[in-house]
């Protein structure tokens, strides 16, 4: 397990890189879903105002 984490001494560079890469993957999904939710909310609010 430790050996796996160390990655032949490159672990301290590898894991932050994977964290960054997949962090960006998760972040973009969250940001996109957030912006969709906000857009839906705004559209609903405008609809109610018009009624």
């Amino acid at each position: 397990m430790n050996e796996f984490l160390e990655m032949g001494g490159y672990g301290k560079y590898l894991w932050p890189a994977f964290a960054l890469g997949f962090g960006v993957v998760v972040l973009n999904l969250v940001l996109a879903l957030n912006s969709l939710a906000t857009a839906k909310q705004d559209a609903r609010r405008r609809m109610e105002m018009k009624l």
Partner: protein, 213 residues
Amino acid sequence: MAMVVALYGGLVLAPADYQQKDAFRMVYVHAPTAWLSLMIYTTMAVAAAVGLVWRMKVAHAAAAACAPIGAWFTVAALGTGMLWGKPMWGAYWVWDPRLTAELVLLFLYFGYMGLRAGIEDPVKADKASAMLAVVGVVNVPIIKFSVEWWNSLHQTATVMQLGKPKMDGDMLWPLLLMLLGFALYFITVLLIRLRAELLRRERNASWVREVLT
């Protein structure tokens, strides 16, 4: 949508268990992010060009939806590359042609988003930002071929070349699978963002009412 996300999870998360050691493993996160940063820019420029030529609002919306995703993946490509450069080249950053061109790509994304944010009239914002996106696309082949045109520290292409890839099959398949996963992921996120963008733009259209009720 859930299916695409699930598919993405299977495709991308599975190769994470891959048994290889050493720094080359960086390629499984660096190459897909860098590749996406270019693919997203190309998508954005094509969408912007379609918007300019045929005055399609949806195309402009798609281009606008691409920009933040692309900027994030450029950041990821640069960041993972820096973390690879430190142990391999001895420095986080060198002013190498490919690295510099990738940095220019990041600024192009920033410029595009800044231009859109700075112009209030949506039609004018669409036009101006689309011009920038189309002109900036010249940077994409520069990044792609920078490693061949100039003496670059960055290694040359191992996968995307004519003939046989220079990579062993055992190392290659997770990478290809990863690229596929990232591509599907991009399409998913782009469609979510595009829906948001269209809702925002067409908030007075009657279909919005139908969609939301």
